[in-house]
Symmetry: C2
Subunit: 221 residues, 2 copies
């Protein structure tokens, strides 16, 4: 094992568990802000509308067990969760597409607080190549492989127009990134071994609009 490997051997957690852990973390931050020291599974369950036994099971993946009647120590559990989720480690990333959404994500310092360190941007627009956004320099596509190697980049983020999404994914995979975070509504395919995560914020809009139109129709009846 080399030094880059996390100290704990990580298991491939079920995705639903991985999606719930950040909820617990968010709630714990709220508690810490309110200077609350201990929290019970029951209280977390009430607040987050998750079954108490599910919470205990989720946290047991981290090797953490609450104490009978006392529950979990807030700051220790928060730290353990941040550590386990990788939010306290630095993950270097390159942004493919520094247009509207890409530039917005580069400018979002929140990502840094969750361990994502965007170190370079890539674009095809000659007007923005060579410029920088919040200190992050924008390069030409031809530089991708060299950047990934030189800047120790693990993650490629795709925020290009939908019709260029697959080409961007190919460029990133060829350049050697280990994971691709796809913000386009396009389905991308890469060779096995590259992690793909899809965050199609526009697809979420579709769901919301549909729910809204249903409510409105009901109102009008």
């Amino acid at each position: 094992m080399n030094e880059k490997v996390t100290t704990r051997t990580q298991d491939l957690l079920p995705e639903p568990t991985l999606r719930r852990l950040p909820w617990y973390l968010a709630f714990l931050s709220t508690l810490r802000n309110a200077s609350i020291e201990y929290i019970s599974t029951t209280r977390i369950a009430e607040e987050l509308d998750v079954d108490p036994s599910q919470i205990a099971k989720d946290l047991s993946f981290l090797g953490i067990r609450g104490k009978t009647r006392i529950g979990y120590k807030v700051d220790a559990l928060e730290k353990a969760l941040r550590d386990y989720l990788g939010f306290d480690r630095r993950h270097n990333a390159v942004m493919m597409g520094a247009g509207s959404l890409g530039a917005a994500l580069i400018a979002d310092s929140g990502l840094q607080r969750y361990g994502l360190n965007i170190v370079a941007g890539i674009d095809i627009n000659p007007d923005i190549i060579g410029s920088d956004i919040n200190g992050v320099k924008i390069y030409d596509t031809s530089r991708t492989a060299a950047l990934v190697k030189d800047l120790d980049i693990m993650i490629g983020i795709i925020a290009v127009p939908v019709e260029s999404a697959q080409a961007a994914a190919d460029t990133l995979a060829d350049a050697g990134v280990k994971a691709i975070w796809n913000f386009t509504p396009s389905r991308i395919r890469v060779r096995e071994g590259v992690v793909i995560s899809n965050t199609s914020i526009y697809s979420h809009l579709a769901v919301m609009y549909n729910r809204l139109s249903t409510i409105n129709t009901d109102d009008a009846q």
Copy 2:
């Protein structure tokens, strides 16, 4: 029925269908760019790795059926999808929290192309109240109800720190928004009848980091 109700009576679609429709739309945009006129279910299925019968079923919700041997007309299907998904209608929204992520989302013109029209921002920071981001003015929290009413706002977007998420949701619900788009990892609760959509981009990071660490551990063994 009043004029604001969409012309077609919308059904409450299953969420998986609603999440797939934008994939089809993205693929159709690519085809149109490549001047392809007709597309078969089989081809869509291959490209997007979705079962052909599922695609036919999804599209039948829109009342659209392909022609035997010819398939679907690309531009007509694209238009029907955009229309059905509500991307061609304007949905006024207010952004709660004009910090890093909130400001980034206000600046993302992509949202506008998907029918989301952010008309105002709300923040508690006196330094940014009164300023504007890409022409969107930032107001004090006390103005929320008046803004929602005066600007015909249907959707409230939450991009505040996690510990303020519930308070922001309460303010929005009290102000009369019909839907809340929550970008924090916090679970929020509102009274029945308000649509909630959660897009926790940081939770997606947790899943990606976990998958990455598993790959790395395997590599190192």
